[in-house]
Amino acid sequence: MGLDFSVVPPFAAALLTGALWTIAITASAAVLSFFGGILFAVIALYAPLFIKLPFRLFAWLFMGTPLLLQLFLIYFGLIQIGIDLPAFVAGVIGLGLHYTVYNSDIIQSGIRAVDTGQYEAARTLGLSRIQALRKIIVPQAVRSVIPPIGNNMIALLKDSALVSVIGVAELTLSSQMAISRTFRPFEFYVAAAACYYVINLGLEAGLRRIERRIQIAR
C-alpha cells in the first residue's frame, strides 16, 4: 500500500485545532517557567536556608525524574488527594514546573555574572536589596541569558507532545485520532511533524526578535 497524502486535508481543521492547543500549552508553560525560573533563581541565591532547602529538593526531584512520570503524577495521582485538575491545567503545570527548574539554573548563572558594582551602585542610591534585585540585577541577568532560555523554550515546545498521554487534544493526540479513523500513521505523523516544524520556525523568529531588541537596548 503506497503513501497517499490526500487523506490529510479532510482532517486539516482537526490538526489546526490541535496545533492551536499545542501553541496555547507551550506559551502558558513558557510564561510559567520563565517567571518561575526567576523566582527559583532568586530564592536559590538569596533566600535563607530554611526556604532554600525545600526548593532545592523540589528542583532536584523535577530534574531527576522523567517529565512523563511527572505529568502522570500531577494528572492521575493528585486526584487521590482531592486535587482534580483539568488535563490542560495539569499539562501546563507539569511542563511549566519542569522547565522552571531548568530556567532557574540558567538565570542563576546570569545573576552571578552581573557585576557587583551594579548592586553597589543601586544600594548606594538608597535602593533596598529587593529593589536592587528587581530593577537592576534581574533585568540584566535575564537579558544575558535569553539565548539559552530560548533553547529551553524550543525543547519545551517539542516536549509538549507528551501531554497527549493525559488527554490534551493537542497536535500529537489530534494526529493520533485521525490515524485511528484512517489507519494512515505515516501521512499523519509527517503532517504533525511538519506542523511542529512550522510552529518552531515561528518561535525561533520570535526569539530572534527579542534578542535583537535586547541587543539594541544596552
Binding site: D115, G117, Q118, E120, A121, A122, R123, T124, L125, G126, L127, S128, R129, Q131, K135, I136, P139, Q140, R143, A217, R218
Partner: protein
C-alpha cells in the same frame, strides 16, 4: 551649626582576620569642605570612603552623618530601612562608573528619585534634564551607557548621584579608569561642584587636581592617616618621610 561636622568618623577600624586595613582613624568634614584622600594603593583610602555609607562596614568605630549614626547597630530589618534612608543623602561615584547598562541615561538618573522619593515621571524627567544640563550632556539623554565615552559615562554617574540631592558626595577614584584625554571633562564637573560648595570627599591619584580643588588633603598609608593639612602644606612642605616619598614618586611624571 556651621561648625558641626557633616561627616564625623570616630575611631574607625577595620580588619579582615588579622589584616588591619584601617587603624583608629578619625576624620571630621565640615559642610562645604572638600577633602582629598591620597596614598599608595592598599593604604585603606577606598575602604575608608566606602565605610562612610557602610558599603564596607567598619569592624569598630562610628560614622556619623550630621546627627545620624550611619553604622548604627540595629536588627537586620530595621538596619535595612535605616541605611537605605541614610544612603539617599550620600552620593557616590565609582571608578568604573557602574551605570546601569540596560537603562538609558534618563532612566539611570530618574530610577532612584522615582522609586525612593515618589517623584512623578514628569518631575523626574525634569530633574534628569537639570542634572544633565549641569554636566553638559543633555543631548545624550536618550543614549544608552554603551553609546557613551568613559568621560561621558562618569559625568552621567555624577548626575545620577546628584539627582538624589545628597548632602555629601564621595568620589572613589572617579578618573582612574579614564583615558588621559577624558580626565579633564570629569575634573571640570567636579570643580564646578566645588564652586557650588558641595561637600566632597575625594579618593584620588591626581595630585594636581587635589592641589587645585581641595581644602584639605589626607595622606594615608597602611591603614593610618600619616599626615593631613591644607594642600599647600601637604604638597609643598610635607613633614613626614612617607608622605615625601609618596609625593616624590607621584609628582614626577605629572605636569
Amino acid at each position: 551649626m556651621t561648625d558641626r561636622p557633616i561627616i564625623d568618623i570616630r575611631n574607625a577600624a577595620k580588619s579582615y582576620g588579622s589584616l588591619e586595613v584601617l587603624k583608629d582613624i578619625s576624620l571630621q568634614v565640615k559642610r562645604g569642605q572638600i577633602v582629598a584622600i591620597i596614598g599608595p594603593s592598599g593604604s585603606g583610602k577606598s575602604t575608608l570612603l566606602r565605610a562612610i555609607n557602610d558599603l564596607d562596614p567598619l569592624t569598630s568605630g562610628e560614622v556619623w552623618l550630621e546627627d545620624t549614626q550611619v553604622n548604627k547597630k540595629l536588627p537586620t530589618r530595621q538596619y535595612e530601612a535605616h541605611i537605605n534612608a541614610v544612603r539617599q543623602n550620600i552620593g557616590m561615584v565609582f571608578q568604573h562608573f557602574n551605570l546601569f547598562p540596560h537603562l538609558n541615561v534618563r532612566d539611570n538618573i530618574t530610577l532612584a528619585p522615582k522609586m525612593l522619593k515618589g517623584l512623578s515621571k514628569a518631575e523626574a524627567d525634569q530633574l534628569a534634564v537639570e542634572q544633565l544640563n549641569k554636566v553638559g550632556l543633555l543631548d545624550r539623554i536618550d543614549y544608552y551607557p554603551s553609546q557613551l565615552s568613559g568621560g561621558q559615562k562618569q559625568r552621567v554617574a555624577i548626575a545620577r548621584a546628584l539627582a538624589m540631592k545628597p548632602k555629601v558626595m564621595l568620589f572613589d577614584e572617579a578618573t582612574s579608569a579614564l583615558d588621559p584625554e577624558l580626565v579633564e571633562e570629569v575634573n571640570l564637573v567636579m570643580k564646578q561642584l566645588a564652586e557650588e560648595h558641595m561637600t566632597m570627599i575625594i579618593v584620588t591619584h591626581e595630585m594636581g587636581f587635589a592641589q587645585d580643588v581641595c581644602d584639605r588633603v589626607l595622606f594615608m598609608d597602611q591603614g593610618v592617616v600619616v599626615e593631613e593639612g591644607p594642600p599647600e602644606v601637604i604638597f609643598k612642605a610635607p613633614a613626614n618621610d612617607r608622605t615625601k616619598n609618596f609625593l616624590r614618586k607621584h609628582l614626577k611624571g605629572q605636569n
